[in-house]
């Protein structure tokens, strides 16, 4: 006689034992947390990027703020750059304005697809 024979009645009872029904809301809970999980508003990498940029900005700010006469030095540097770049000359500024407006005007042009197809 085997152990299986010893427990034949019990095995029969176990085989006949129905499984408990899970609560009705469980299925939707599972699906909502898996396949139908809403996309996160902010991705982890975006969070880290913004955090790093902010930390870097704070560090730079602290660095500038702790340098003696930082404001004066910054103003001097800006003035030197403006002068060296020729931005004080009216002609340079005029050509710069022409260049920017031309670039903007070209960017606004649109070429219909149909015309390009016809020209082929």
């Amino acid at each position: 006689m085997t152990h299986d024979d010893d427990f034949a009645d019990l095995d029969r009872m176990l085989a006949a034992l129905p499984l408990e029904e899970p609560p009705a809301a469980l299925r939707s809970r599972i699906l909502t947390s898996t396949v139908y999980r809403p996309a996160p508003a902010v991705h982890a990498w975006e969070f880290w990027l913004v955090g790093t940029v902010l930390a870097l900005a704070a560090w730079l700010l602290w660095l500038v703020a702790t340098v003696p006469h930082a404001g004066e030095r910054f103003a001097d540097l800006t003035a030197r750059l403006v002068e060296q770049g020729g931005l004080t000359s009216l002609t340079t500024l005029l050509w710069l304005a022409v260049g920017i407006s031309t670039a903007w005007w070209i960017s606004q042009l649109s070429f219909p697809t149909a015309r390009r197809v016809r020209s082929r």
Partner: protein, 188 residues
């Protein structure tokens, strides 16, 4: 022989096997995962509720098990049994919950005592299924889980051993002792 009640699909169920469903989920099919949930949520919930003896915690464990399975589906070994895999995930989650419960309550026993599962209450219960379920609930955790898996997976001892991470011999011993205790509890 106890049939693998929840694991074997009913006669009218679609013939798509688990491997095909998993491949479909990995290819982005939500319906395929819904089908997997339909097939296994009862069995997984039953394993959790028998192990934890608490419906709310069992629901949490079931949800977490499916969530973990979904996240790690790409690591599922082709050819393995999905039921064994998800039962293993669920059982580990249940163990975590039991040890957390033990830490909080400081009990010697890792599981919560069920006052309705005592022998005097059992005697009052006439229905065979109710009595058997109560008797299973009254077993110590290690025996309870073995019996539950035996009920869910049939006589697939190696699968039970995989889920519980126990040697095959230990599983058979636990099952034998569990059945002895069950028989004693159910005898008039």
């Amino acid at each position: 022989m106890p049939a693998a009640l929840a694991v074997e699909p009913p006669v009218a169920a679609p013939v798509v096997d688990d491997q095909a469903l998993i491949a479909a989920v990995l290819a982005g099919s939500s319906q395929a995962f819904e089908e997997i949930v339909t097939r296994y949520q009862r069995a997984v919930y039953n394993l959790a509720v028998r192990t934890l003896r608490d419906s709310n915690e069992a629901q949490d464990a079931t949800q977490e098990a499916f969530f973990k399975a979904y996240r790690a589906l790409h690591t599922f070994r082709p050819g393995a049994k999905f039921s064994t895999w998800i039962f293993t995930i669920c059982y580990r989650l249940c163990c975590d919950k039991l040890s957390k419960r033990k830490r909080i309550s400081g009990d010697e026993l890792p599981d919560r005592a069920d006052p309705s599962a005592g022998p005097e209450m059992l005697a009052e219960r006439s229905d065979e299924a109710v009595r058997l379920r109560a008797a299973i609930d009254a077993l110590p955790e290690k025996y309870r889980t073995v019996v539950t898996l035996y009920h869910l997976q049939g006589k697939q001892y190696d699968e039970i051993a995989t889920v519980l991470n126990l040697p095959l011999g230990t599983v058979k011993t636990h099952l034998f002792r569990a059945k002895e205790q069950l028989r004693k509890a159910l005898s008039p």
